[in-house]
């Protein structure tokens, strides 16, 4: 693992904490009741994780003990917020949510599934520090055969509200939005990159990670629905989603995508409502 590429991009010293953008949406989230923010270290990055109740914070503290950096607790921003319902009453029916800054990035009915999502979402910070492998920013799903579908990153938030519909068609959305690919660009390898987070996942019973051939890659498009693309057009649309294209180099990135392009079904996917998007994904999978 390299030094923090995110910090380098921001021109910050490596011991700095991850900054947080200010926005009206962030202010709105901050105005809700939150308990203390815990500093954790993923790779070289110090991240703030907070819970909505003392019980949630205690659970996070216990779960993330190996990654804790308490000396940074007063410095970190609440980069990740975890909101879970209570044990009883109306509160217990609330959805459990994880926010990255103000954006909802995980949504579950049960707390334990959400906490496993959190582990994978925290690993995004480690994946962003990967320099030598292709790393892509995308929403990823697995179909019933274990093949991967990559969609524009914006699909992740929309499809979080459509998980039952996807699961009814045996489509599983992966929690992270940052994915490491094989060097050939043909497979998605979703194992946890950070050793500490990997141990946390293991302690939660998650040890197996898919190594999925990429069957379909949808890149942003315009129009009313999904449309087929030639491999060259797909590559052209996918290039910007490779977040390691600078460290890998443009040439190797093009060569990697070029080698994979003929083996992947490429489509253009416009911005759609969540329901229309999930229907388009189901149609593509059929």
């Amino acid at each position: 693992m390299s030094a923090s590429s995110e910090f380098k991009r921001l021109g910050l010293p490596e011991d700095a904490v991850l900054p947080q953008p200010c926005s009206p949406c962030m202010d709105k989230l901050n105005n809700r009741p939150w308990h203390r923010t815990l500093a954790v270290t993923v790779g070289d990055v110090h991240i703030g994780v907070r819970g909505n109740t003392p019980a949630t914070s205690d659970r996070l503290e216990e779960m993330l003990r190996a990654l804790r950096a308490p000396h940074k607790d007063d410095e970190v921003a609440p980069n990740v917020s975890v909101s879970v319902g209570g044990e009883v009453g109306a509160d217990a029916r609330k959805l459990a949510l994880v926010y990255r800054d103000h954006e909802i990035v995980a949504r579950r009915r049960d707390q334990e599934s959400l906490l496993l999502d959190l582990v994978e979402l925290l690993d995004e910070f480690a994946r962003l520090q990967t320099a030598e492998m292709p790393v892509v920013h995308a929403c990823a799903l697995l179909d019933r055969e274990g093949s991967a579908f990559l969609l524009p990153p914006s699909a992740h938030g929309s499809l979080l509200t459509q998980l039952p519909r996807l699961e009814a068609r045996e489509l599983t959305m992966l929690s992270p939005r940052i994915h490491v690919l094989s060097k050939t660009g043909t497979h998605l390898t979703s194992r946890i990159s950070d050793a500490g987070l990997s141990a946390v996942a293991s302690s939660m019973g998650r040890n197996a990670w898919p190594d999925a051939p990429i069957k379909l890659w949808a890149v942003p498009g315009t129009g009313d629905g999904a449309f087929p693309l030639r491999p060259s057009e797909g590559l052209f649309g996918a290039f910007a989603s490779v977040v390691t294209r600078v460290t890998l180099g443009a040439g190797p990135t093009l060569t990697m995508l070029g080698g994979a392009a003929e083996q992947i079904r490429w489509v253009g996917l416009p911005a759609l409502s969540p329901a229309a998007l999930s229907q388009a994904v189901v149609d593509l999978a059929d």
């Binding site: 491999p231 590559l235 052209f236 040439g251 060569t255």
Partner: protein, 106 residues
């Protein structure tokens, strides 16, 4: 990343005795996918998807052959006259030069 497709409407500014070469890596990196070239221009940090004809012209540019000879070769390949092919070759070559993915040798 600024991405754009090749503009193929640039005015012909080159001649049949012009020789072009592809700019070397890391100034320009490219890949041929099914007969269509995708090229990265480092200087402008832009990615270009060349249409099939521009791709063909790009692939035939070798730093030695004049555009006139290239037009002859293409006319032979397509079974047409050089008079029909030459204006297109000059126009596409000018487009590639405008994108700074090829440069003049002479």
């Amino acid at each position: 990343v600024t991405s754009q497709a090749t503009e193929t409407t640039a005015e012909p500014q080159l001649h049949t005795d012009t020789v072009l070469r592809r700019r070397p890596s890391p100034e320009v990196d490219w890949v041929d996918v099914g007969g269509q070239v995708v090229a990265w221009a480092e200087e402008s940090k832009s990615l270009h998807l060349l249409d099939p004809i521009a791709s063909l012209v790009f692939l035939l540019i070798d730093g030695r052959t004049t555009l006139g000879v290239t037009a002859d070769e293409l006319a032979d390949s397509f079974g047409t006259t050089v008079g029909q092919v030459e204006p297109d070759v000059l126009r596409f070559a000018a487009s590639l030069r405008a994108l700074a993915i090829v440069e003049e040798v002479r």
